[in-house]
Symmetry: C2
Subunit: 152 residues, 2 copies
DNA sequence: CTCTAAACAGAAATAATTTCCATTTGGCAA
DNA sequence: TTGCCAAATGGAAATTATTTCTGTTTAGAG
């Protein structure tokens, strides 16, 4: 937790109860969450959480590198805790399709500047989906995979 | 155009004036388009195009491989003409950040099944952004790049 | 030419996201 | 510690995006 708050301070933002509650939630839930998920999870506990505030805070937490926005082909808005430490540079994430655990991918196969099909690469969006070690051991049936393969 | 209509027929869908008009639009505009862009472009020409119909058709055209949905970190809904021919398998696209030209990336560096950071890769989302040959020649000033680098 | 499943039109419902503004608060400076 | 002020909050309301529904039309097989 403290390491996350440090990122907030480093970017000149305030540490507020709301932000701590949201970070706490992401720490508990190991999955990625939509703004609606966050509202549902936090409502009741600490009074009401309005969606506007949640949007604002998810945005702030993403800006200062505490969360990242998961990329899907469907474009749904979902966030997860960024696994990179403060100051670490370019990286991507890989999400386990079974347990939603998030891993950090430091050495991306694509490097900005490289040539691809006649284009010079300037930026790239990469989101990997896979099975983490423990889930891979459990799931030797591939049926669930097929289902999830298309989700991006 | 005909090659696109063939994809429609191949998937058992009907070739309708609406669908032809949408494909035609994407053929003219070389950029990627949102449903709203499509509505604006097509309204007036052939009477009214309601957004519900546009959503439906963009979805259909995507399903049968004529369009693809561009992936961005922001999650906006934008479509572009798929560069892959009928029956071609797994591929990604690279978009020129200057002229929006789309290129096909057939041999992705990531392969499902490979191991990445302890995960077994099941699916992956890749969207590349770069400069096509002609734009790269023009733009030796990097200022525009910086601006676009974050867009995903 | 007929018939039928698929497509269309568009109103309306729903859901997602942003804007606004009055009130409160974290954290720095005195 | 206390006070200040920019930043954060709360929540209503506006806006925009997306889906659902229903009755009508049409592409294209036979």
């Amino acid at each position: 937790m403290e390491e996350h708050l440090e990122k907030l301070r480093a970017s000149g933002r305030k540490v507020t109860p709301r932000r701590k509650a949201i970070i706490q939630l992401f720490l508990q839930e190991q999955s990625d969450l939509s703004p609606q998920d966050v509202q549902e999870a936090l409502s009741g506990a600490t009074g009401q959480f309005g969606l506007p505030g949640i949007y604002r805070n998810l945005e702030v937490l993403t800006t200062c590198g505490i969360l990242f926005r998961v990329v899907t082909y469907g474009g749904e808005r979902r966030y997860a805790l960024c696994k990179a430490g403060h100051g670490e540079g370019h990286h991507h994430h890989i999400v386990c399709i079974a347990c939603r655990k998030v891993g950090k991918v430091s050495d991306c196969l694509y490097k900005d500047g490289m040539m691809v099909e006649g284009f010079r690469l300037v930026s790239h969006v990469v989101q990997l989906n896979g099975l983490c070690e423990s889930c891979a051991r459990e799931k030797n049936d591939l049926s669930a995979l097929q289902e999830l393969r298309q989700q991006g």
